[in-house]
Amino acid sequence: MSGVRLGLLTVLGLALVAAVAGGALGTAARQRVSPLLGALVGAAAVWTGALAWSGGTGRVVVGTVLPGVTAAYAPDRLGGAFLVLVGGVTVLASVWAFDGARGTAASRTAWVAYPLFVLGLLGVMAAADVVAFLLAWEVMAVASAVLVLADHARRPEVVGAGLWYAGMTQLSFLLVLGGFAVLASAAGGTGWSDLARLAPDAGATGAGVGLLLLGFVTKAGAVPVHVWLPRAHPEAPSHVSALMSAAMVKAGVYGVLLVVVRLLPAGPSWWGLALLVVGSASAVFGILQAGVAADLKRLLAYSTTENVGLILVAVGAAQVTTARGDVETGHVLLVAALLLTFGHAAAKSVLFLTAGSVLHATGLRDLDRLGGLGRTMPWTCGAFGVAALGAAGLPVTAGFVAEWTLLQALVHAGGPADPRLGLVSALAVTVVALTAGLALMTFTKAFGIAFLGRPRSDGAAAAHEVGRAERLAAAVGALAVLGLGLVPGPMATAAVRALGVDGVTAAGTTLAAGVRLGGVAPAPGSAGEAASGTAALVPVLDPLALGLAALAALVVVAGVVARLRRRAPRRAVELGWGCGGARVSPRMQYTATSYAEPLVRIFDAPLGVSRSVATTTADAPYVVRAMSFRQRVRDVFEEHGYRPLLRAAARVGDAGRALHNGSVHRYLAWSFATFVVVLGLAAR
């Protein structure tokens, strides 16, 4: 029995045991055993994925109810990479859940659904044919919907979020089902190897791929099918949010890579252009919404849309450049996509887990009421800070390496030989640059408002550091963010392998494109070495050197500060008024809303902002007693896209009510008419 097969069977067995244990154990035992089993499932998945990633093979065939229809699971290198990703996030989320899952999030139902959700996710990544993929996809969709609804009895908004989520996730399933059905019938088989034989420019292939891409970006949470994401992520329990945002959304990304890179790498360039457009819109819209969001978890959810947008931009640009003949740049872009995926998974799992810790410590998600948590929750603050650096794409984190690689590759795409491609990549560069700037602002806001300054409410003032398991999960995740950022070489090499692109050439181009990913050396005499000969002309960035420089700068700044402090002893500043800089009251600080005000003013129309100021005056008109300010940011896609659609559907439903008025004769007449029509058709 090969290692991969053993690993797959272990994952399957452990997940089933965890589901049974979640249902059978009492509350106290469940709280200890279920997270442990969850972490074991994750660890087994990491092991299996690592084996598959490094070239191991193994196959598990599962029978279905239908005779002759089986589902085969056999991860390849790309699937192995995603198995590692999902497994790693599962381990973090499960460890966090030792302390973090409480109340309804630790109910019997939730602990049954959790391992099944993970199992479905892993199955998607490991599937080797259409049936296996769809089976796992549906398990993942249903189990995650159950988890989103965990707290439905206490908070009515959870029910709305759950309905939106269930609707969109089933829409995604139907689109994927339809797409695979078209492809499988055209190919005459359901295995990946059958689908890979399709002619990429045939009409049926185009239709199938179009459906699939639409279904996958729905799962990935890209604009305009993102509406479930800012609802479901905030309302789900925090470890589930982390798993959904860091791992489940990546199932959509995996699907896109599966179709565009692995099965049909020679597709026409419109696939890539479509992904590029969707990705650009998602990146800009997502980060704009995140920038103005005042709810911490909603901010993180919209930031997920932004990151998925960047990944889709990378994949789309890679597809276009490859289709137009610039294969090397295409490969670098693919590597950038995978780096982005892993960087985002690490950062976002930490961000959601620490946001959950903040929610436990303060009972608040509203940034406008938080503040000053850095002093009371130093561990959570540190982990959140590192992950926020990563999500904003700043140096010494994984996000920086990935975004820098993406930017450099985009800048070098096209060139004078292909002006049209150059135009496309220039536009993409603009999008990425704008997104990066706004992301910096967004995460400055999230970190600064929540952890610095002074508490803005009693809940924030009474905060306390959370339990050991929560801190451990956050710290390990933060270390992963730093590690991927400081030593990206092994990860880049592994990404090259996972994508099956020509390793040496791609690494050489990566070098020429401006990021020195340590550990990847061009083979002698290859195109990579030739490229590295010209590396002197291109500014090359070494993340490790950058990290050392940052450390040196930090030491210098700390030294200067310490010296200044020693020279000028602390004085108490007592000012009777606030304009001298002393924040005499917490209410004089920036809030999340006021910090984002410039952004709201610039992007008023695309954000759909409505605000109202109500002034209560005393007897005289200039004596103001109280003022209240209310601002609402709407989702324009939901307002102008989904609401009219839902209203139209409701109207059709109302019209359908005329068909059944409660009279038994009406019902019998319908079935009689149907019977006669069917009889007539059968006798034809």
């Binding site: 007449a669 009689f672 019977f675 007539g680 059968a682 006798a683």
Partner: protein, 241 residues
């Protein structure tokens, strides 16, 4: 019995079934459906017996006996049976009824609807049945094949009665005609149904009629049976969750 005689007998009995079905469609609200239903049931039983003789299968005689008793005697009697107040548990006096249930007093003589559309419709359905049965009659040869469209026609006419009947009783009648049609088709198409199958089907029909009869009686006691044949079902159309 020669094959010619058998063919004649089958045609005669099938024709009798069709005639009674049309009679049932034509009957006014005041007339009892018992007679035509009984004739139809006996005709069906006769059909089974003739097939049994022609095919030389004694088991079919037993089936014929069962069908005759059930469809010729038991079911028609059940359909017309009115719930006897004396036999059952004493009906609650009017004062004890919940205030929300108000007995509806209807005139004893109900203005019948015109039967002409239904008769014309039945004729059309018979034509449809003959057209629809063509693919089957092409396959089923012999004495029984020619009469097969009658089974289809009975099904269609029965379904039409079921869908248009205003009272629970006329719907029951439609249901029985429909079932007779299915049985006729089955016997004619396969040349006899095994005893076990026929037993199962007969028990099912008996049960359905019993349940519907009880249900109809309950409705009548709750809303008041103003007319012969039970409550006007068009009045029961409020949907509740």
């Amino acid at each position: 019995m020669s094959s010619g005689d058998a063919s004649q007998a089958v045609a005669l009995l099938a024709g009798l079934e069709l005639l009674t079905a049309v009679l049932l469609a034509w009957r006014g609200p005041a007339s009892s459906p018992r007679g035509p239903l009984a004739v139809q049931g006996f005709a069906l039983a006769g059909l089974v017996a003739v097939i049994g003789v022609a095919e030389g299968e004694p088991v079919l005689w037993l089936v014929a006996l069962l069908v005759g008793v059930l469809k010729g005697v038991v079911l028609p009697t059940l359909v017309v049976r009115r719930p006897s107040r004396a036999a059952g548990p004493a009906a609650p006096p009017a004062a004890d009824r919940p205030a929300t249930v108000r007995p509806v007093v209807r005139p004893a003589v109900v203005r019948g609807r015109s039967r002409v559309p239904l008769l014309l419709g039945a004729a059309g359905l018979v034509v449809v049945a003959y057209l629809a049965a063509r693919p089957v009659t092409r396959v089923v040869t012999g004495a029984t094949g020619q009469a097969l469209p009658v089974g289809f026609a009975l099904v269609l006419v029965g379904f039409a009665l079921l869908a248009t009947g205003r009272r629970s009783q006329s719907q029951l009648v439609g249901f029985l005609v429909l079932d007779n049609g299915i049985a006729t088709t089955a016997f004619l198409a396969t040349g006899g149904v095994p005893l076990v199958v026929e037993l199962g089907v007969s028990l099912d029909v008996l049960l359905v009629v019993l349940v519907l009869q009880v249900l109809g009686s309950r409705i009548d006691t709750a809303f008041g049976a103003g007319a012969p044949g039970g409550t006007d079902l068009d009045q029961l159309r409020e949907l509740h969750d």
